[in-house]
Symmetry: C2
Subunit: 213 residues, 2 copies
C-alpha cells in the first residue's frame, strides 16, 4: 500500500566513525511492511521511534503477531540467514539499520543489542505464559496493561491496532477480542471512548485479572 520510505545515511558522512557504524536511518509511513519473513537477512534494525509488529505466517494463512516493538527494540533476526519474521509499522516510524557485519566491529552496538535481546526475551517468556495459559479476558487485560505504563494512570490510551491485529497478537479471533473489550467495559474496568481509545478505570482489578503482570 503506502510504501513511503525515505532513506538517508548516518549523520557522520564525512569521516566514517569506527564506533558509530555506517548505519542508515529510515523514515517509514504507518502500515508499511519493512521486511519479509524468509528474505535474505542482510541487516539488523532498531526502532528509533514509532511502533512495529513482527508477524509469522502458517502456509494456510493463519497469522501470529509474535512481538510488538517500540523505541529501542531490535528486529530483523535471522535463522539460517533468512528473516524469521515479517515486520510492519503500526504508526509512522523511524528505523535505524546496521549491517550484520557491524556487530563484530562495533562493541558498543553489540552491548546495546545484548541488553535489548535480554529484555525482549523476557517479554517473550511472559507472552508464552499469556498464549499458553490465559483465558481470553485475561489476555486482553494483560494486553491493555502492557500498553499502559504505570506513569500514565488516568490518561487515555490510543490503540494503533485493529481488533484483528490484537487477536493475532493474543492468539484469539477478532470477535473474541471484541467481546472481551465489551466485558471489561461492562465490569467497569475500562472505558471505551472510541473503539481505539481506551481508559483504564480500575487498574487493581485489571492486574488481578492479568495475574499481577
Amino acid at each position: 500500500m503506502r510504501q513511503i520510505i525515505e532513506e538517508r545515511t548516518g549523520s557522520y558522512s564525512r569521516r566514517p566513525q569506527p564506533v558509530e557504524t555506517q548505519g542508515s536511518s529510515l523514515r517509514v509511513a504507518a502500515h508499511t511492511t519493512v521486511l519479509h519473513e524468509g528474505d535474505p537477512a542482510r541487516r539488523i534494525m532498531e526502532v528509533v521511534d514509532g511502533a512495529v509488529m513482527l508477524t509469522k505466517l502458517l502456509p494456510d494463512g493463519r497469522r501470529q503477531v509474535v512481538e510488538l516493538l517500540g523505541p529501542g527494540d531490535v528486529f530483523g533476526l535471522a535463522h539460517a540467514d533468512a528473516y524469521a519474521c515479517s515486520a510492519e509499522t503500526l504508526t509512522p516510524a523511524t528505523i535505524a539499520t546496521h549491517e550484520r557485519s557491524a556487530l563484530e566491529r562495533d562493541a558498543v552496538l553489540a552491548a546495546r543489542l545484548l541488553r535489548r535481546f535480554e529484555a525482549q526475551l523476557c517479554v517473550m517468556h511472559s507472552h508464552a505464559l499469556v498464549l499458553g495459559r490465559m483465558s481470553a479476558l485475561e489476555r486482553v487485560a494483560f494486553f491493555l496493561l502492557r500498553l499502559m505504563p504505570e506513569s500514565m494512570v488516568g490518561s487515555t490510551l490510543h490503540l494503533s491496532m485493529t481488533r484483528q491485529e490484537i487477536a493475532d497478537f493474543l492468539g484469539l479471533t477478532l470477535e473474541t477480542v471484541s467481546r472481551a473489550f465489551s466485558e471489561l467495559k461492562r465490569r467497569g474496568f475500562v472505558a471505551l471512548l472510541r473503539a481505539d481509545e481506551v481508559r483504564i478505570q480500575d487498574r487493581g482489578s485489571m492486574r488481578r485479572l492479568a495475574g499481577a503482570a
Copy 2:
C-alpha cells in the same frame, strides 16, 4: 527433591585470566531446580550439557514451560534485577555460570551470548506461533520434530519430559497431549515403543502437520 549439586571453580585458578571469566561450573542431577522465578538475579548461566526447562507460574498455580534449553543455550535472564523464570533440569546437566558484571569485561562472552540470544529469540517467535495459532495435534507434531534433528532420521527419540511437562510447554492439558500421541500413532506418523520412546515414521506428514516447521 534430589538437590545434588556440586560446584567447582573454573580451571584457571592460578592467574585469573581477564578473558576467560571467573565462571564456575555446576554438575546438577535431573529434576533439580537451579533457580527460582523472582529471586535476585546475580548470575547468568549457560547449559554446557544436558537439558533444562524454564517455567513461569501464575498466582493460581497454572504453569507454562516457556523454553526448552540444550547445550549452548543461556538462561538466568533478569527483569528488574529478578529472575524472570524458574529453571529446572530435565536430565543430569552441566551448567556454567557467570557473574552479570562479567558481561562488561568479557567481550568474547558477550559476543557468544549475543548470538545465542538471537537464536533463542527466533525460537521463541516460532513458539508464539505454535501457542497462538496451532491445534493440539499440530503442536505435538511440531514438538516432536523440534526434538528430532534432521540427522537422526530412523533412530528413536527419548523424551525426558512427562505428559504434564509437555502439556505445560505446548499450552495443553496432559490428557490432550496423550490423545494427540495416540492419534499420531493411529495415523502411522509415529511409533511409541514406550510412553517415553518415540520413533518418527512419516516425517513428511509430520512436517505438513506442523506447518513446515
